[in-house]
Symmetry: C2
Subunit: 316 residues, 2 copies
């Protein structure tokens, strides 16, 4: 028997077959290519159909399916809110998937929960009971493991750490995405660099040649590596925010590990020692000594591994 | 059968007998009067002995004992760290209490956990599965309920919210107690007023008459009620910090309730609507609409009720 894990992102869909012990046997990724609403649902059910009927699996029938979604999975209604997929305000994904997979059980959870579960199963949180996956990408979210279980809260939206208040006083620019995400997400890093460039008339470094509105956080990390002073200033501020956020997770949750992941960690993975140093200033001093801060062990595959683990916990 | 709840504070010891359904039948409070180390342990075992042998309980034998301690209860070792009780760095309270109460089960937990449990049992969190008790007194801590259980973390020190980073950049004054506690505990409120008075040479209001070093947060709240401008400035900043902290609890935990308690709420209880207004600016916008922010329903008795509830969960 095998497990099917599906990771829906904002731009692509990854599907993978795992053995029950967590070995990745087969993986396929397809681009969403501007699909929206029901077209995305159809892509998922098509992929499931393909994997369930694959010759490659003849001796290895799928016993359970897990799905990671880029937003909120409402456990009671089975619907999904995914802000980056047009038409997925309250999408009936559970119902739709169940219609194509017969008696095979289906579990759905948010990407941040799945990242944490992936690390717990086959990554850098193996053996942990209390840990946090801090996902810093276009946005920021946290998958939080409390006593071996994902923290859900009263309405499945716990872990919305992008909204963490870290910089007083309040500014209207925080209204749409939250203070931490505004300053220290991938978008936030690029925005901070653009803002500094606008102010600095004498700057002639490598970021000047980028189309100002098209700059990405990757451009900033690349300039940082080359010693660019605008990039160094931006990254210095980001490290401060990341360190404060890690400190707050440590003081509140007393975890064994905080795992830094998402698209930004990635290129920012070398900055983890600096993030830890900043966190050490702020956090409960005993608690920070009891934990480790580390990079993701699965990188871009954390979501699909988490979906596989979801499947493994809900076998028929 | 009845339950014995004991609440050790920094200056006094409260003991109470509860019926199994949570009715307070009898309560007694004694001052610690500079007792330290083993003398405090002896006071606790004496009180337990007295209650176990009381004539008043002849038909109402104690079936379980719960104890709330002002610090950290290490569940595995049975020892207690209580920073305000000299000699209680790693005090063997569990062993000592068990030596006087025979086969009656004994449970020990931190005050912040007990405040939360008290509200869950007989206060304003009845029926909740996910809630937070934010205790603002001399220091600041949080008792956090996740899916019906107290959040403990990997080493029993979860909920150390006094260390929450809310005001960048880091300042060395945060080293001893944490940023949030520095600014917005009872001590923090009094300190902020003293600092403003030192700077303001023209001030002639009611706080001037207080011995500057002896001023308490109660003096500041009293001056605030009378419209004193120094007090209004101090309380305005405190509301900002309390609101940011509540927002961060809401975004991370998605709770049904946040309960404001401790000695400061207390006099600050009228400020809860202002704290909520500040929290609404910062928090995850859906999550903040799904929760209620409220005062403690048990005020100074939250700890002893929580100790009673601890007892009720661990009956022989």
């Amino acid at each position: 028997m095998s497990l099917l894990g599906i990771d829906l992102g904002g731009t692509k869909l990854s599907s993978a077959i795992f053995s029950e012990d967590g070995t990745l046997l087969l993986k396929e990724t397809v681009a969403l290519e501007n699909r929206r609403g029901k077209e995305v649902g159809l892509l998922i059910t098509d992929q499931i159909g393909k994997f369930l009927n694959s010759d490659k699996l003849s001796s290895n029938e799928v016993s359970s399916i897990g799905i990671s979604v880029p937003g909120i999975s409402h456990t009671e209604s089975g619907t999904v809110w995914a802000p980056n997929i047009p038409g997925w305000d309250d999408y009936p994904l559970s119902e739709e998937v169940k219609s194509v997979c017969g008696s095979i059980p289906v579990s759905i959870d948010s990407d941040r929960a799945c990242y944490m579960l992936g690390e717990l199963w086959q990554g850098n949180a193996r053996g942990c009971r209390n840990a946090v996956f801090l996902a810093v990408g276009t946005g920021i979210g946290a998958g939080i493991l409390v006593n071996g279980e994902i923290l859900r809260g009263s309405h499945d939206i716990a872990g919305a750490i992008g909204w963490m208040a870290l910089n007083r006083p309040f500014d209207d620019k925080y209204i749409s995405c939250g203070c931490f995400e505004y300053h220290a997400s991938g978008d936030g890093v690029a925005r901070a660099a653009r803002d500094l460039l606008k102010e600095d008339k004498t700057y002639s470094g490598e970021l000047k040649n980028k189309q100002i509105e098209g700059m990405s956080s990757y451009d900033v990390f690349s300039a940082f590596e080359n010693g660019d002073y605008i990039a160094q200033k931006v990254i210095g501020i980001s490290i401060e925010f990341w360190g404060m956020a890690v400190a707050n997770l440590v003081s509140l949750f007393n975890p064994e590990k905080v795992i830094m992941g998402g698209g930004v960690f990635g290129p920012a993975v070398k900055l983890i020692p600096a993030v830890k140093k900043e966190a050490e200033k702020w956090a409960q001093p005993i608690s920070i000594k009891q934990m480790e801060i580390t990079a993701s062990g699965l990188a871009g595959d954390a979501g699909v591994f988490g979906a596989g683990y979801l499947a493994s916990k809900n076998k028929r």
